[in-house]
Amino acid sequence: MSNNGVEARVRKIIAEQFGVKPESLNRETSFMKDLMAESIDTVELIAALEEEFDVEIPDEDAEKNQTVGQAIDYMSKKVTQKGH
């Protein structure tokens, strides 16, 4: 799967979780500062990404992803690893 494909799906899931349009998100958008993420959002977002890409995201990895760009890069990497 192309990185673009993963990026679009990650953006869509994040947008759905926070009730915003996908195009309003950029790579620097911060879950905490810009989207006012609460712990519930984080848990739901991780579960949605896990289900979408059929991967497991450890809590310690999830904590490192603070922006939309970081989440896209992380998921791209996970999908690539899964493909191998």
């Binding site: 759905e16 349009k21 519930i40 848990v43 991780i46 579960a47 896990e50 289900e51 497991e56």
Partner: protein, 423 residues
């Protein structure tokens, strides 16, 4: 004679309570349905039949073979529908072979050894169909549980029936001299290791009260009969109104009326629970309240397994599946169904139907944390009460997660449509 206690095809009419247990494991009064059946036949062993995903879990819990047809060979067998409410003496050991039918449903079948051996096939359903076709039929007037609210409706009768069955009376445990029995003291049973603290009132005017081993009733609690409180439970400043059954290892406070709490669940704080059935490993947060009466006093309607039923009753509360957590201040409408493994946050009236493993937060239904994290959390919850979650239990939850996926996804989609305004 052998007993065979079986599930028929109507288990889904008792969802969400029967996702995680066979129908005969449901509680009504102090005892579960299979316990009522078995106490009519002291010393008789039982074989149990249930859906496949439950078998490995209940094989460890029940004394008797599970889903083993061959266990029925070699003796006369009394087959009893697991939904029968077997009041004391209601099912008498019959002499002749018979299929006892209530309406169009089998209540019980009695068959001789030779007949069982001759007709036994590949499944319990086949066997029962053949027995029904071959044996003479007797139309009887038995009580069979059809829907969750039937358990609540029959609970007061079941408590009285159980009280008569245990045959024990009086205060055998510790009762503070500053606690009071208001009414007939002969209608109380406090077990040897139970404790009734000061400023507790046990009111037996409307029925008996049973308080089981190692249970504590803390000060300023009032308990009205008929009532049964299971072992190792704690009542914390509880206003326990009439017709309440509480299973083992529960912590109950606030106001509760005409309800069944299966066991291992908490409702510690202020808040009202009425005409409800609460499963296992449920936590009900402070101020969470359910309605059990509509403002227009009309019959309450309930969604079960995709069908809307008129309960025929004006007093119907909530039915809550195992492992569900209700946060502070949840408001449940009359006849609300909440599935297994849900997480609900309060602040508004919840939808009347929440599918299993869904979350309800900020006005919308979502997938929440998914199965894996829910299992991890529930494993911690169970270990706090000294119960280990087995691999077969995890597989049972996985099965429930899978079979409820479609309805969950459908309701999540509908919920999103309502909650997120178009920009």
């Amino acid at each position: 004679m052998k007993l065979c206690i079986f599930e028929d095809g109507r288990f889904s009419d008792l969802y969400p309570l029967t996702y995680t247990r066979p129908v005969f494991d449901l509680r009504c009064g102090r005892t579960k349905l299979y316990e009522k059946i078995m106490r009519n036949f002291q010393g008789v062993g039982a074989t149990f039949f249930m859906r496949g995903h439950l078998g490995p879990v209940f094989r460890d819990r029940l004394e008797g073979a599970v889903n083993e047809l061959d266990a029925l060979r070699g003796d006369d067998v009394l087959f009893v529908n697991g939904r029968v409410l077997a009041w004391r003496g209601a099912i008498r050991p019959p002499g002749d072979e018979v299929a006892a039918i209530r309406g169009d449903e089998i209540a019980y079948v009695y068959a001789k050894r030779e007949t069982v051996s001759k007709l036994i096939g590949s499944s319990i359903d086949d066997l029962l169909d053949r027995l029904r076709a071959q044996l003479s039929q007797l139309s009887i007037d038995a009580d069979l549980v059809g829907h969750p609210w039937d358990l609540v409706r029959n609970n007061p009768k079941a408590i009285v029936d159980d009280f008569e069955s245990i045959g024990r009376r009086g205060i055998l445990g510790k009762m503070s001299p500053k606690a009071e029995i208001y009414g007939d003291a002969e209608k109380v049973h406090v077990a040897e290791t139970a404790e009734i603290h000061p400023f507790v009132v046990l009111d037996t005017h409307s029925g008996p009260i049973m308080i089981d081993e190692k249970t504590k009733v803390l000060p300023f609690s009032r308990i009205e009969g008929p009532c049964s409180i299971g072992s190792e439970s704690t009542i914390v400043r509880g206003n326990v109104r009439e017709e309440v059954s509480i299973g083992p290892v529960c912590r109950i406070g606030g106001e509760i009326e005409a309800s069944i709490i299966h066991g291992y669940s908490n409702k510690y704080h202020t808040g009202f629970l009425g005409h409800a059935y609460v499963g296992e490993w449920v936590n009900i947060g402070a101020l969470t309240t359910n309605s059990d009466l509509k403002n227009d006093y009309s019959n309450v309607e309930v969604y079960v397994n995709g069908n809307l039923y008129d309960t025929g009753d004006t007093k119907v509360g909530s039915f809550i599946g195992d492992h569900t957590k209700l946060g502070i201040g949840c408001l449940l409408n009359t006849g609300t169904i909440v599935g297994v493994g849900c997480n609900l946050l309060g602040g508004e009236v919840l939808p009347k139907y929440i599918p299993s493993f869904a979350w309800f937060t900020r006005g919308r239904i979502s997938r929440g944390s998914g199965l894996r994290r829910t299992v991890e959390a529930e494993r911690r919850v169970m270990s706090r009460r000294g119960v280990e979650m087995s691999q077969s239990y995890v597989q049972m939850l996985q099965h429930i997660y899978d079979v409820t996926k479609e309805e969950r996804e459908n309701l999540i989609k509908r919920s999103k449509g309502r909650a997120i305004p178009e920009a």
